[in-house]
Symmetry: C2
Subunit: 234 residues, 2 copies
DNA sequence: GGTTTTTTTGTTGTATACAGTGTAGACACT
DNA sequence: AGTGTCTACACTGTATACAACAAAAAAACC
């Protein structure tokens, strides 16, 4: 570590971003399962930084509701409740559908090309069985779509909602049945390309409803924490 | 302060919340003007805590976009651009109007009573010329309204939007012409009490449009570049 | 006199040390 | 055996010290 002191703080900034991404992706891809504890010491050692930096990242993730920060117990990956899942999808239904109208008006040919590429990558991931990657790519697709409408604030909301949706999918989704059907996104691109905003809006609505319907809202069968859930239900 | 060392960390938690509120309110009420620098040292001394706690609060405020955190320059109160203002009001138009329908279905008599009380307080503040307080109460009213719809996620979005709106109003609003007309909120309660969601929705739309229209979207006179322009007047 | 370089100061970024709290294991008692 | 209590450990919360960097001020140079 003797030469490590020459690292500038500017490098430290991007490193924080990298660590944030790493943790965030791990959660979204379900490599870190809901309920998993995230100890500051452990993370600090893994990434070779001090706890200070880790805390900052943990707090950011907590505000995005990807991790839960209980007062003196530390951080753990959030386990979204069924109610939260319902709220999130209701919010997506409202916001994303509405954005399709503006998106159809403003979309350019470059956008279409980029979207098609993303959809293809996603299909590829699905075909090769990489479910984690597919979930993340799907979220990225929806976000990109939302950004087309030109409202940065709403796009940010969609980003948050997509992250949480990924978590929800990882918890309540069936193994063999991923949220987004493989051809759905391509169809959506088609409607947007044709400038048919209303059609895209209706399709997005069905699309989101289909994802939500594919969830099995049964509480996880946690052999051990069964008791906890029963008595911690209020 | 000799026995201050007996303060538990649990007390520290609520203290942080208090400090957060204090800073947040100060920004929302325009006692801290956009562009004002927020030095960690100064805040730490004012509130009697270390910089560590201040940093946490500052980062939270930054994620809520009330303060801007430039890499090595520190924190300052965010100066919302005209574009951001447009985006925020478009988002409010979409979300808050839509929520009125659900709110009308779920509202109870206790809710109505609480809302009337809030509206009255707001009118009082307006009458007594306390513009800062009125802005904050107005935001609280809109938030309370959003919470009625029963979607915690969307309510949280509305909270964020209202905070930012307060900031926008503080920057672009005219002095004598506050955003919310005094009787608007009472009218809205009436529609909700009657269970007329569609009417409430339409009224909310007009209400928000009126607020936005009352803004003067002239770009602020940036003191520093002003000089350059003045002396480059050859 | 104006411009560039150097120094100084002020402020944030990071790490580490310490204090306080939650948790679990051991031991004693019923 | 089962339960209550005590003690040791693990972890987080907070403060402080130090290092890095940016801006402003001063000095030197043209």
């Amino acid at each position: 570590m003797s030469e490590a002191k020459t690292r500038t703080t500017r490098e430290g900034d991007v490193r924080h971003e990298v660590i944030y991404r790493a943790v965030s992706d791990a959660i979204i891809e379900h490599r870190l399962k809901p309920g998993a504890r995230l100890r500051e010491d452990a993370l600090a050692e893994v990434f070779g930084v001090s706890r200070t930096g880790i805390r900052k990242i943990l707090q950011r993730l907590a505000l995005e509701q990807l991790v839960t920060l209980t007062p003196r117990r530390g951080a753990s990956v959030t386990r979204p409740s069924a109610e939260e899942a319902r709220d999130v999808f209701a919010a997506r239904q409202l916001i994303e559908c509405s954005l399709m109208v503006d998106a159809a008006k403003r979309i350019t040919s470059e956008d279409i090309e980029a979207l098609r590429k993303m959809a293809q990558e996603e299909r590829q991931a699905l075909k090769s069985g990489d479910q984690s990657l597919a979930i993340r790519l799907s979220a990225a697709f929806h976000l990109r779509l939302a950004q087309l409408a030109g409202n940065a604030t709403l796009a940010e909301f969609v980003e948050r909602l997509c992250s949480r949706s990924s978590l929800i999918l990882a918890v309540y989704g069936h193994r063999g049945h991923l949220g987004c059907e493989s051809h759905d996104h391509d169809d959506l691109i088609g409607y947007l390309e044709a400038g048919n905003g209303e059609r895209a809006k209706a399709f997005m609505s069905r699309h989101l409803k289909a994802i939500e319907a594919s969830l099995s809202m049964v509480e996880e069968d946690n052999a051990i924490p069964d008791l906890q859930q029963i008595f911690a239900s209020d």
